[in-house]
C-alpha cells in the first residue's frame, strides 16, 4: 500500500464537514424541486461534498506515498496570537497599544529579529497606520487607551 496521507486527510476533512453540515441541515425545510426550501441547496452541496470526499479517500489509498508535512507551530501560533491580542485590546486599549502588542508578539516568530529592528518597525508602522487609517480613512476607532 502506498498511502497518500495528504489526500487521505483532505478527503476525510471534506467528509467530516459534509456530515456535520448534513446534520445541521436537518433543521431546515427541504421543500420540493419546484419550490426549494432553505435546506435544498445545502443538502445538494453537502451530499456532493460527501461523495467527492469519499472518492478522494479511496484514490488516496494507492496514489502515494505523500507523507504529511511538519507544521510550523511556533510561527503560526505567534502570528495568530498577535492578531487575537490585537482584537482583544483594540476597543479598550486603542489603536496604538493594540498594534504595538501585535507587532511585538508577531516579531517573535522570526528568530532573526533584533529588539532595535522591532522598535523601528513598530514606530514606522504606527506612523503609517495613523496616516492611512485615522488621517485619511478616518475609521471610527480611538488612538489612545480609553479609561
Amino acid at each position: 500500500m502506498r498511502i497518500n496521507a495528504k489526500d487521505l486527510f483532505s478527503g476525510l476533512i471534506l467528509i467530516v464537514i459534509a456530515l456535520v453540515g448534513l446534520w445541521l441541515n436537518a433543521d431546515h425545510a427541504m421543500g420540493t424541486a419546484q419550490r426549494m426550501g432553505p435546506g435544498y441547496m445545502p443538502w445538494l452541496t453537502f451530499m456532493l461534498q460527501l461523495v467527492l470526499g469519499a472518492i478522494i479517500v479511496v484514490l488516496a489509498l494507492n496514489s502515494g506515498p505523500d507523507p504529511l508535512e511538519r507544521w510550523a507551530w511556533r510561527e503560526m501560533s505567534l502570528v495568530l496570537l498577535g492578531m487575537c491580542v490585537f482584537g482583544l485590546l483594540l476597543e479598550r486599549g486603542g489603536l496604538f497599544l493594540s498594534t504595538t502588542a501585535m507587532i511585538v508578539i508577531a516579531s517573535l516568530a522570526d528568530r532573526t529579529h533584533r529588539p532595535l529592528g522591532v522598535l523601528g518597525v513598530t514606530i514606522f508602522l504606527l506612523a503609517l497606520c495613523w496616516w492611512v487609517f485615522i488621517h485619511e480613512l478616518d475609521i471610527r476607532v480611538s488612538v489612545w487607551p480609553q479609561f
Partner: protein, 500 residues
C-alpha cells in the same frame, strides 16, 4: 464603431479625473512592488487592500485593484530576468530565457522587450475588452436562469480543472467554497442557516476575512517557515536599447504572445500564468530562434511577457460582461463590487457606464504608467528586494488586522480571519488549492438563486438544463473538460504546464 469611440472617449474622461489617475498610479506602483517581491502575490495584496478601497467610489476602487493585478505582471519579469527569481507564478518561464540573456550581458534588452511587449499586448487586449464587452453583453441578456446556472457551473469546473494539482481535490474545494457561501440568511425565506445563533454571521461569512485569512495571513506563516533565500544582484543591467537583430526577432513573438495571451485570458479558470506558459511552448516550436532556446533567446522573453499581460487584461471580459470571475483575482473583484453595492453581470455595461468604460480606459493609461514606472526606475525596484522579510510581514499583518476591523468596525471579523488563516495553512499543508474555494464561495450564492428560479420556471423539471440550447451546450463543454482530465496523457501535460 462611432459608438465605441464615443464610449471610449467617455471612459477616458472618467479615467483622467485626478482621483482616478492617482489611484491607478498607486495601484500600478503597489502592483509592481509585489510583482518584484517573491512571496507576496496579487491575490493576497488585493484582499489586503480591499477595505482601504471601500471609502472610494466603486470605479476608483476597481481601477486601483486592476492596476495591482496587471502591475504585478510587469514587476514579476524584473526579478525573473535579473535574479533568476520569479516574483510571480506568471513569470516562471521568463526566468528560463530572461536570466540567460542577463548572463550574456543583455539584461537591459530583456527588460526593455518585456516592458514594451507587455505594453503592446496590454493595449491590444484593452481594445479587445472594449470591443467584446457590449457584444457579449447583448448575448448574455438573452440568458435565462438555467443558462446562468450552467455558465457558473462551467466556470467552476474549468477553474478546478486548471488549478494546480489533483482535479478531484480542486472540485472538492469548489464544493467546500459553495458550502461556506451558504452560511447566513437564506434570501428567499429569511431563515438563518449555519449561523450557530451568532448575529455577525447572519450576513454570511465575511468575504474579506476569508480572502485575507487564507491568502494573506496563511502566506505569512508559510513564508516564515521557509528560510529566506537572499539574492544578491550580480548581473549588470547594461544598455536598455535593443539592437536591430533583436527587434527583428522579437516583433513576431510579441504578436504571437499577444494573441495566445488574449485567448487564454478569456477562458474561465485561465489567467496570466497559463498564458505565459502557453506562449513559451509556442515560441519554442515556432519561432525562428528556436535553436537558441536555453541559451538566452529573446523570443522566450518577448512572447510570454506579452502573453501574461494580455491575459491579465482579457480575464476581465467574463467578469465585466457575464459577472463570472475567471480566476481568484477576479473573484476578489466580484467581492469588491458586491460590497460596493454593484451586482456584477450583463447589466453592468448599461447601468454602470462610468465603471465599465472608465476601467477600460484606465487599463491603457495604467499600462503607459507601468512602462515609465518600470524601465527608468528599475534600480529602485531591485533595491526593494534587499528589504528582509522580517520587516515586511509585520506590515502585512498590521494592515490586514486594522483593515479587516474597519470594514464593519467589529473585532469579530479579526477572529474570523484568524480561523481562516488556520484553515488556509492546513490547506497548504495538504496541497488543497484555496483559489477554487474562493471562486466557489463567490459564485455559490448566485448559483443557488439561479437554480431556484430555473426550477420554479420549469415546475421542478431538471431536464430544462439540458433542453435549453445555451445551457445544454455549456454543460456539454463542462462535461468534456472534466472528461479530458481523466485521460492520463493530458493530465501529465497540464502538470508540466503548471509546475513551471
Amino acid at each position: 464603431m462611432d459608438l465605441l469611440i464615443a464610449n471610449l472617449a467617455h471612459g477616458f474622461s472618467v479615467a483622467l479625473s485626478w482621483n482616478n489617475l492617482l489611484f491607478a498610479f498607486i495601484g500600478c506602483m503597489i502592483g509592481t512592488a509585489i510583482g518584484v517581491l517573491p512571496g507576496i502575490g496579487p491575490v493576497a495584496t488585493i484582499s489586503l487592500l480591499l477595505p482601504i478601497t471601500f471609502g472610494q467610489p466603486a470605479t476608483t476602487a476597481i481601477i486601483m485593484l486592476a492596476g495591482i493585478y496587471y502591475g504585478a505582471q510587469y514587476g514579476g519579469s524584473t526579478t525573473a530576468i535579473l535574479l533568476n527569481l520569479p516574483g510571480e507564478v506568471s513569470s516562471v518561464v521568463t526566468t528560463l530565457e530572461g536570466y540567460k540573456m542577463a548572463r550574456r550581458g543583455r539584461a537591459g534588452a530583456a527588460l526593455t522587450i518585456a516592458a514594451l511587449g507587455s505594453f503592446f499586448a496590454g493595449s491590444v487586449a484593452t481594445v479587445l475588452v472594449a470591443a467584446s464587452g457590449p457584444l457579449l453583453t447583448s448575448i448574455a441578456l438573452s440568458f435565462g436562469p438555467a443558462d446562468y446556472f450552467s455558465l457558473m457551473l462551467l466556470g467552476l469546473i474549468i477553474a478546478a480543472v486548471l488549478a494546480q494539482g489533483s482535479v478531484i481535490k480542486s472540485v472538492g474545494m469548489v464544493v467546500l467554497g459553495v458550502a461556506l457561501g451558504l452560511v447566513g440568511t437564506d434570501v428567499q425565506t429569511g431563515q438563518q442557516r449555519f449561523t450557530f445563533g451568532i448575529p455577525e454571521l447572519s450576513d454570511g461569512l465575511g468575504f474579506a476575512a476569508l480572502a485575507m485569512g487564507m491568502f494573506g495571513i496563511a502566506e505569512i506563516i508559510l513564508n516564515l517557515e521557509r528560510p529566506e533565500a537572499r539574492s544578491v544582484l550580480t548581473t549588470k543591467v547594461g544598455s536598455l536599447y535593443l539592437n536591430r537583430e533583436e527587434v527583428r526577432r522579437a516583433v513576431p513573438s510579441v504578436l504571437r504572445g499577444t494573441l495566445v495571451g488574449s485567448a487564454l485570458g478569456i477562458l474561465p479558470g485561465g489567467g496570466a500564468a497559463l498564458a505565459s506558459f502557453g506562449s513559451y511552448m509556442m515560441e519554442r516550436r515556432l519561432s525562428k530562434g528556436r535553436a537558441e532556446f536555453g541559451t538566452g533567446a529573446i523570443e522566450g522573453v518577448a512572447g510570454p511577457e506579452s502573453a501574461n499581460n494580455a491575459a491579465s487584461q482579457t480575464s476581465f471580459i467574463p467578469l465585466l460582461t457575464l459577472g463570472i470571475p475567471a480566476n481568484a483575482v477576479m473573484a476578489l473583484m466580484v467581492g469588491a463590487l458586491i460590497i460596493q453595492g454593484i451586482q456584477p453581470g450583463p447589466r453592468m455595461v448599461e447601468a454602470q457606464p462610468d465603471l465599465f468604460w472608465g476601467l477600460i480606459a484606465s487599463m491603457w493609461i495604467g499600462n503607459l504608467m507601468l512602462l515609465i514606472i518600470n524601465l527608468p526606475m528599475i534600480g529602485m525596484w531591485v533595491k526593494l528586494l534587499q528589504v528582509p522579510y522580517r520587516y515586511m510581514y509585520p506590515a502585512i499583518l498590521t494592515f490586514c488586522a486594522i483593515g479587516i476591523y474597519s470594514i464593519n468596525n467589529n473585532v469579530f471579523d479579526v477572529y474570523l480571519t484568524v480561523l481562516f488563516a488556520i484553515a488556509g495553512y492546513l490547506f497548504a499543508k495538504l496541497k488543497m488549492e484555496p483559489a477554487p474555494l474562493l471562486i466557489g464561495f463567490v459564485l455559490g450564492p448566485m448559483m443557488e438563486e439561479h437554480l431556484r428560479r430555473a426550477m420554479l420556471l420549469s415546475r421542478g423539471d431538471p431536464s430544462v438544463f439540458i433542453e435549453r440550447p445555451i445551457s445544454g451546450t455549456l454543460l456539454a463543454i463542462a462535461a468534456l473538460a472534466l472528461g479530458m482530465m481523466l485521460l492520463p496523457n493530458l493530465r501529465r501535460k497540464k502538470e508540466e504546464a503548471l509546475a513551471g
